[in-house]
Symmetry: D3
Subunit: 135 residues, 6 copies
Amino acid sequence: MATVTLINYDDASPDVRAVFDDIKRTRNIPDVNNFWKALANHPETLKRTWEALREIMRPGSLDPLTKEMIYVAVSVANNCDYCIHSHTASAFAKGMTGAQYAELLAVVGMASQTNALATAMKVPIDAQFQAESRR
Amino acid sequence: MATVTLINYDDASPDVRAVFDDIKRTRNIPDVNNFWKALANHPETLKRTWEALREIMRPGSLDPLTKEMIYVAVSVANNCDYCIHSHTASAFAKGMTGAQYAELLAVVGMASQTNALATAMKVPIDAQFQAESRR
Amino acid sequence: MATVTLINYDDASPDVRAVFDDIKRTRNIPDVNNFWKALANHPETLKRTWEALREIMRPGSLDPLTKEMIYVAVSVANNCDYCIHSHTASAFAKGMTGAQYAELLAVVGMASQTNALATAMKVPIDAQFQAESRR
Amino acid sequence: MATVTLINYDDASPDVRAVFDDIKRTRNIPDVNNFWKALANHPETLKRTWEALREIMRPGSLDPLTKEMIYVAVSVANNCDYCIHSHTASAFAKGMTGAQYAELLAVVGMASQTNALATAMKVPIDAQFQAESRR
Amino acid sequence: MATVTLINYDDASPDVRAVFDDIKRTRNIPDVNNFWKALANHPETLKRTWEALREIMRPGSLDPLTKEMIYVAVSVANNCDYCIHSHTASAFAKGMTGAQYAELLAVVGMASQTNALATAMKVPIDAQFQAESRR
Amino acid sequence: MATVTLINYDDASPDVRAVFDDIKRTRNIPDVNNFWKALANHPETLKRTWEALREIMRPGSLDPLTKEMIYVAVSVANNCDYCIHSHTASAFAKGMTGAQYAELLAVVGMASQTNALATAMKVPIDAQFQAESRR
């Protein structure tokens, strides 16, 4: 159960409705999902979060599916139930295949393992990594 | 400073050298990096970790750069210093552009924010997400 | 479902009852909540945890509501379901307004985002921060 | 060492300089700190992050020091080195006393402990918490 | 609800069945648990994960119960619901007493607290720790 | 660099010295380590933390080395640099062998991987786990 009341379109203030309308138009969906209905309790946060998300997730140097898979990976690492469900569903909706999902999960699992091992042993960073990542 | 001594090729046992040789051959590099030299203290873990990584990171339904960016995303979320440096460098070495890196970071940052917001409000999961993610 | 049986007052040993009585008296409530009933399986941990919590959460240089909001922030970052619910409820019980809650969430979300960005880029720490924080 | 080059004012593009100018004016400081110089590699992220931060951290229902302490708490829980240093320094700069800092740390530590205990035992959520947090 | 369909033995491919058979034989149980049925969607990940787990959890320099308790501790710190339930149950099945469980939880809680405190204050590492841990 | 000044015995107040003396006597060491010198800025937190740690880490149903290894595991999962160094060193000082350390790391790494996989797929919890863990 949420810590806030979900606000539906009919009960929303004009500024919340404006954001809801933009979400529905941008995503071509009949209603916004629960995350936005929860954020609608804080209209400023709703507007800022939606506008940032819309800007960040639009096609750019990375295609939308790649971005969505990265979103899933972070949500798993951060253990956000809602976000794992919503972004996994979004990735499938954007064309992720079962084989791609399997590989995404394998990378996430492997990274979690080597993250723990490198952290445990406090492995010193190789000089060449720093040069390469600053290119 | 590492919690273990880094083991160089010249001081390594035959089974460790066999793994080091496979890493160098597979990646076409003159020496393995510090992570493997640290793991060499535990030859079984070294072998198992390398073989799993080799299998998971090879080209498949996802291309190697996408996998590497997912690896970076998880390493950031798990806050692994060594892994952030090594996998960011690997992603650049595999052709990640500055623009792609910028978008990768933006997605990781955005996901971290909405993860926190959804977790804080305990947003109930929309029914349609579950249907979509099980397809 | 809990990994332990919740222990109610009527079934509790005298030392557990003594802690339960102190909790009820201090908080002026008719019964302790489930966290304490779960901890009652480990009377030493119950006693130590309650006494530390009572000492830490009492009014001091920070008022109780500020402490409670900090508790919510940490619980969100650590993703503790039970704690998010219980401390969000406690903060409201101590007078947190909807507007304050909205700002608390906005700060938690923003911090999560910039935490991820600074961690991803391994930003070097500015010299002046260290001087100021040691004052 | 950062994964990106820090960009100083003299080397910055006009849109980056505009953000730097706003940061310096808003905070009344002679130069921006390293976080912004790192983000300047991604002008869109720089602008969006700064504008969100400026909006969120301004005085509102919560005073700036309370917001800063919540920021420290989240940064500790997320283990962001840079952010712990920068926001602890900011909190001191905004008037946090040593006694307040001691209480902040005590709450963060206590929350981390009870978060772990409640998570470990999967304590079921009390019905009254849900009612109270939805008020 | 899972993001994948659970695959039962009767619906499984021969390579999945081979892994399921090995799990059942090794653990002397009539059916595999849900984790393996979920992983069966990705036969390669299923096989690799099971083989690694079987190798790592067998008796060695550490006895199986100690390994299981370490597994619980990590699962709590990583906040994995499923894993907390399954490995706590496994630890009890391997003979963990209520008193041992109480001490395990107390250590996990204490570590979480001092982890947060040391992280918050950025305590510099004592020279002698490094010497001792490299022995 | 620490966010606080480390307080040495000679500069400490009587109540801090009393805790330092107890630490030195209990552990039979000539000086306390940096964690305690940092906590000495907050005498109440110093005293409470030391007394809880002393109680929790003494021999009980679990032997001190097992407790120390669990402490390392949690510190790795929580990514606390200081704690990884100090508790890995303590575990070696209490007799942990290189082989035991290798197995400890392998379990921590494996748990981190399966934690991520189970979390990603939201695997439903098997009924029998709940029954067993409540015994």
